[in-house]
Symmetry: C2
Subunit: 224 residues, 2 copies
DNA sequence: ACAAAAGTGTTTTCGATACACCCATGT
DNA sequence: ACATGGGTGTATCGAAAACACTTTTGT
């Protein structure tokens, strides 16, 4: 259908993702530098306009790949942003996602058709972002912090095996908080999201840590 | 900006809300009957197309009022639905909300410019819905059930005062579960979302229940 | 043997559950 | 007085927090 009514005409949909990683205890987010107006020269989260022939989730993945080369990841939708003036060009609503991945396992493209640079930024070194991406990033981080408990989204960081001390470092980086080693272990095992592989780490210089594997399915806990 | 690229042309945004109420222990949702195509004659949730000059939340409220006459309510965004074919007319993405209100306090319009009827339906008596509204309703209910714990969204049902037995009936209806009277009280008071008014109910035939008031602000609990 | 990092165990505390009793009202 | 529904209290259980010791490796 061709839209004629001015009230609805020329609306568009952004799909935007905040991609997080943890490097040496530091939580970082992927930003790309725009070459096109609006906000040419600004850093932004990966994302762009949704196509008519794709669903939201695949659209968000396509935009991530186009802007960074990253593919085969899992993302989670968390909120839609739609202030009237969030894009200076036309009315755009932004369906937003977040994801976690291992920066060492992906090769980030520096330049693409619409970006001149890409980099992982520590959360306390975020430059001024284009559009409303600062607000989106702040909320994405909050959602990640909420979801990390009781979820297996960290499976993305450790697709095959993981040790509990490794996990603890990531939790501490993302939640920005320290945990007691012994209690952390108990909590992780009680969450029932890990399977014991029976094997242990090797070549570590110290006592080898046990290797676990994220379960494929995890049950939602009862709320009350 | 005028969109010319076919890939993005003619996209639109729905703002859709599932409005819940509880009547005599039964959870119900407000549905309206469409008069226009597509899905003329079908029952749907309140909602419609977002205008260019309004933000998402106000847009959702406007649609609620237009389709039902209900105003001055609180709603919560929970998810955006965007399957390519969710609307047979054109590409529409649906930003979805849920809300709770007291059906006795509102006057629901039976007919509007685009609806021929409106009614509260018990959850086990939902007719076949237009668009993807059955899916939206199912997820809205789940979100309501999650959010009802640790939130003051029930303030909408009891804007001034509430008794704990009243609250319990609503929780039981929405969560579809029974609670121990004494433990339920303790849990509600521990949530720290209620203020004691010092007063008591009157004219009830039995021992008067204490009156509480929902706090305005409630703090988010730490996740870990 | 020693340092470094990992695994296991115990005590305590606090919140959730199970359960019993008392109170205020209208009839 | 009694039936109805509401408020208060206690004992118990289980999860989470605080805290100490043992184990495995490399040097």
């Amino acid at each position: 259908m061709e839209v004629k009514n001015k009230l609805y005409k020329n609306q568009g949909i952004h799909v935007i993702t905040a991609l997080f990683t943890v490097e040496q205890g530091i939580t970082k987010v992927l930003l790309v530098k725009r070459t096109n107006e609006p906000f040419a020269g600004y850093w932004v989260l990966t994302g762009g306009a949704l196509y008519n022939n794709e669903d939201l989730y695949p659209g968000a993945l396509r935009e991530i790949e186009e802007k960074s080369g990253i593919k085969n990841i899992n993302i989670t939708e968390f909120k839609t942003f739609g202030k009237v003036d969030r894009s200076p060009v036309m009315r755009m609503v932004a369906v937003c996602f977040f994801g976690v991945l291992d920066s060492k396992r992906v090769n980030v493209l520096r330049k693409t058709k619409t970006t001149s640079n890409a980099n992982w930024f520590a959360l306390d070194e975020i430059p001024s972002l284009g559009f409303d991406h600062e607000e989106i990033l702040a909320e994405a981080l909050k959602e990640l912090q909420k979801k990390i408990v009781n979820s297996n989204i960290l499976k993305a960081l450790y697709p095959d095996t993981v040790t509990i001390p490794e996990l603890q470092k990531v939790y501490e980086a993302i939640l920005n908080k320290q945990f007691d080693r012994r209690n952390f272990r108990k909590r992780m095992l009680n969450l029932n999201i890990l399977d014991d592989t029976g094997k242990s780490e090797q070549f570590d210089g110290n006592k080898p840590a046990k290797l676990y594997r994220f379960k494929k399915k995890i049950e939602d806990k009862e709320v009350m």
